[in-house]
């Protein structure tokens, strides 16, 4: 059974629908990402689960019990805030022990669990520091320890890594995943960083304008996006759209491209930028399709390179390993090629 479930939750602020009939299940022990651009409703959804925002209607269950009418303090959650929200007047140990003291677990038990939690986040040696004496990464660890030390039914993380710089963020992603695995707690985190969502989670829910547009395992969502929006939001993708005529898609300029079998009903297709190849000579081969394009720009980025091309006035992006790219001029005519079954039918939205 799902540890947390959200069913048809709607929330309006004035005239805007922050959440529009959102449903998602969060099974026990999983690591879930709520992903979306700013204003998509992901934070609102997290706060509805936490209880800081009351939904207009719909159901929220934690551990099978309906909690719509349960106040935050009795939902048995652990939450980590974007700015960490450590109590400035308390030491690291007192911050972590706050929830234990509220639950009256007893002094010895409290001490033991604080030590355990701080050990897990590798902050045992700084237990007597005040928050202002800690670095950003250390504060984040303390905030995390404080959130899970009470053994809540669900751990909610609001943009947990966004305040850290890039290098530290990658380290903390690995840490976060390790800690979550170790304590096996159902975790839901909000992020606008698609890479972070793909890296960390077992299941991603993607929100847009208050609607849950697609939910699933990162690999599935990445490989089979439902819509143009998701294809372009999760990584880089190129879109072909036009009229289907006799097993081919006729795109702008009258050119036809082959479409995969069984996808004849669609008229919009997405293909990952890394699934397209670029060359000077016309490629050959039966299962590859090809099209002429104009190279506009080639961007070097270390291991990877990005080529910007134009096909009938439409910009496309090709991503490849730098060493796999042929010798190319800075601009001029090129060939794009791809395997037909890499085209995925998507909704045009």
């Amino acid at each position: 059974m799902a540890e947390v479930s959200v069913e048809n939750v709607t929330k309006t602020f004035g005239a805007t629908k922050a959440l529009d009939s959102v449903s998602m299940d969060f099974p026990n022990g999983g690591f879930f990402a709520l992903l979306g651009p700013s204003g998509s409703g992901k934070t609102t959804l997290l706060r509805v689960i936490a209880g800081f925002i009351l939904a207009d209607n719909g159901h929220i269950r934690i551990g099978g019990e309906p909690v719509e009418r349960v106040p935050v303090e009795r939902r048995d959650i652990g939450m980590m805030f974007q700015n960490y929200a450590l109590f400035p007047n308390m030491t690291v140990a007192d911050n972590v022990g706050f929830g234990l003291r509220v639950r009256k677990v007893g002094a010895a038990e409290e001490k033991r669990r604080i030590a355990e939690a701080l050990e897990l986040v590798q902050m045992g040696s700084l237990r007597d520091r005040k928050p202002h004496e800690l670095s950003g990464g250390q504060r984040q660890r303390v905030a995390l320890a404080r959130a899970f030390v009470t053994n809540p039914r669900v751990l909610l993380l609001d943009e947990p890594l966004s305040a850290l710089d890039k290098a530290l963020r990658v380290d903390m992603q690995i840490e976060l995943k390790r800690i979550q695995r170790e304590i096996g707690i159902t975790t839901i985190f909000v992020t606008h960083d698609q890479e972070e969502a793909l890296t960390l989670s077992d299941k991603i829910g993607i929100l847009r304008n208050g609607r849950m547009v697609q939910a699933g395992a990162p690999r599935d969502v990445y490989n089979a996006p439902d819509s143009v929006f998701i294809a372009e939001f999760l990584g880089d993708a190129n879109i072909f759209s036009g009229q289907v005529e006799g097993g081919a898609l006729r795109i702008a300029g009258g050119r036809a491209i082959r479409i995969p079998k069984g996808a004849e009903g669609a008229n919009t297709f997405a293909i990952r930028s890394e699934d397209m190849a670029i060359s000077l000579e016309e490629p050959t081969g039966d299962d590859t399709d090809r099209i002429r394009a104009d190279l506009v720009q080639r961007v070097f980025a270390g291991a990877m390179a990005t080529c910007i091309v134009e096909v009938e006035g439409r910009r496309m992006k090709i991503v490849a390993r730098e060493r796999d790219l042929p010798a190319l001029p800075d601009e001029g005519p090129v060939w794009l090629s791809w395997e037909t079954d890499r085209l995925k039918p998507v909704k045009d939205e």
Partner: protein, 261 residues
């Protein structure tokens, strides 16, 4: 060159302002230690007036009453004002804006008018004059100050701290006691000291509301002066000034009125 000149002029100006503010007080303080009852020079140091003061029962009773009322005002106004500030900070409710706006004009209303209005009101409701009326009046005067100072401190409080505490299982009272109050404590202390000072220094409203038999210290000083001025008044005034200034200095320290430390 002109910068240096300006800096010097500024210093002179500052000294003039300080003289303007403190000269009368310093002279009064000095005279309270002068043996002559008619302010005659040469200055002759004496503690006579303070000795006389300690034997003046009327002044001592009034002083004790004043301190008592000021302490009671401080406790009541601080509790009510802090609670009101927290309510303004936490909740949205109908009429909140109007209520907040209406809190401050009373500070600008002349005490003479406030005192008259209170007198009429207290007679109207049957409370009449006396120490209870004085206390209620003082609390009403002190309340806006407490709310201003505590609210200013609350404005620097990070709301997510309350949310964090709630997410950890703390109910409203625990959140207030363990998270919010520790943060706003400097504001609460400053507000309390302001409330004490407003009550302890209050003359006009006390004069209107107190009964002839149980005057507060400022009222007693005023009536004594009308009967005939003695340097005892200088002595008691000096004590009041020292207490009031100490309270204000501590309050300014807590509320950062004198700039950051």
């Amino acid at each position: 060159m002109s910068g240096k000149w300006l800096a010097r002029a500024g210093k002179v100006w500052l000294v003039l302002i300080l003289i303007f503010l403190y000269a009368p007080i310093v002279i009064m303080g000095a005279m309270s230690f002068n043996a002559s009852p008619f302010y005659q020079l040469p200055f002759e140091f004496s503690l006579n007036w303070y000795a006389a003061l300690s034997e003046n029962d009327a002044i001592r009773t009034a002083a004790i009453r004043s301190v008592g009322i000021a302490l009671a005002t401080m406790v009541i106004a601080t509790a009510l004002g802090t609670a009101a500030s927290l309510a303004f900070f936490r909740y949205e409710f109908r009429g909140k804006f109007i209520l907040q706006t209406l809190l401050f004009p009373p500070i600008a209303i002349p005490w003479l008018i406030t005192g008259t209005a209170m007198l009429i009101f207290f007679f109207g409701i049957g409370l009449g004059r006396g120490t209870p009326s004085v206390l209620v009046g003082h609390v009403a005067l002190a309340l806006p100050y407490v709310i201003v100072v505590v609210s200013a401190r609350l404005a620097t409080f990070d709301r997510t701290l309350e949310e964090a505490a709630r997410s950890l299982g703390a109910g409203a009272w625990t959140v207030t006691r363990r998270v919010t109050l520790p943060w706003i404590m400097p504001g609460v202390v400053a507000g309390a000291l302001f409330a004490f000072a407003v009550s302890f220094d209050q003359f006009v409203v006390s004069y209107f509301l107190s009964e002839p038999g149980d005057a507060t210290l400022p009222v007693l000083i005023y009536t004594s002066i009308r009967k005939g001025f003695t340097p005892e008044i200088n002595a008691v005034s000096t004590i009041i000034i020292i207490i009031s200034m100490a309270v204000m200095l501590v309050a300014a320290r807590f509320s950062n009125f004198g700039g950051d430390r």
